[in-house]
């Protein structure tokens, strides 16, 4: 096979992959509203989900409790936009269990998306 043919095939595969991004995992879950807790993220964190796309949480952002789901406590920030990207783009709140980010809560879909892998956070209460 010539180099040119390989180049064309690679370009077609790249186009197909770009056109077919995987969907963000959505596990239905129930949020029980809550308030009164907050923390500051002292170090930035880059969190992967199963689509292969990562979400960056910036250092020095303040996170407020909005409720709990079976997977952990759900926190939201007004200091940055947090989205999960796959075939679509979804706003997400972080889900924290014992100081570790275990995934994201999608408020519109009312669903949980696990982080792969879970990630310990550097936080200051």
């Amino acid at each position: 096979m010539s180099k040119r043919s390989l180049g064309v095939i690679s370009a077609v595969i790249a186009l197909l992959l770009a056109a077919c991004a995987p969907q963000v995992v959505q596990q239905p879950t129930q949020l029980t509203p809550g308030t009164g807790k907050s923390f500051r993220l002292t170090r930035s964190a880059e969190v992967d989900i199963s689509t292969g796309r990562s979400t960056t949480l910036r250092a020095n952002t303040r996170w407020e409790l909005v409720g709990t789901v079976p997977q952990g406590e759900v926190f939201r920030t007004r200091d940055q936009v947090v989205t999960l990207r796959g075939d679509g783009v979804h706003e997400g709140y972080i889900v924290v269990s014992q100081g570790t980010l275990v995934g994201f809560y999608m408020p519109v879909e009312r669903a949980f998306c696990p982080a792969t892998p879970s990630q310990p956070l550097s936080i200051e209460r």
Partner: protein
């Protein structure tokens, strides 16, 4: 190439560029005089900076309602009650963005384009206010604001 062919190419290019041109006031000129959203609603700005794929200008639907088009170098806005929102743009595939809107909150949705199989895919990205303010400044108003 013959002079006539060159002239035809130039005319065709001019027509294409004029079709893509956006003629309204710039955001930076308009923002000072733009009425603020009422306190019980939030505002969503939609804008597109990229000129790549300028001929691809799908409709933008918000919770099923057509609110504008993804015009390169253009922006528009809508005021809506607090709640959950889904932005859909469709070319050869449907692309979705979901987010929440609070009363008094301002959201910025940038309409980007990525490669598709036959046609580029236009999709919405939720952008931080600081970044959006700098990106939207040079875009031009392309549509009337609507209220709930």
């Amino acid at each position: 190439m013959q002079i006539r062919t060159v002239a035809l190419v130039v005319v065709a290019a001019s027509l294409l560029l004029s079709a893509c041109a956006t003629s309204g006031p710039k955001f930076s000129e308009m923002s000072a005089t733009m009425a603020a959203a009422k306190p019980d609603v939030g505002r969503i700005y939609f804008y597109r900076t990229a000129l790549i794929g300028a001929a691809v200008q799908p409709e933008v639907r918000l919770n099923g309602e057509k609110v504008g088009k993804a015009v390169p170098n253009g922006f528009f806005y809508v005021d809506r009650p607090a709640g959950n929102y889904q932005v859909v743009t469709e070319t050869e595939v449907e692309k979705k963005l979901t987010f929440t809107l609070d009363a008094g909150q301002v959201r910025y949705v940038r309409l980007d384009i990525s490669m598709g199989f036959w046609v580029g895919h236009v999709y919405g990205e939720l952008i931080d206010e600081d970044k959006a303010q700098s990106e939207i400044a040079s875009t031009r108003y392309i549509g009337a604001a609507t209220t709930p």
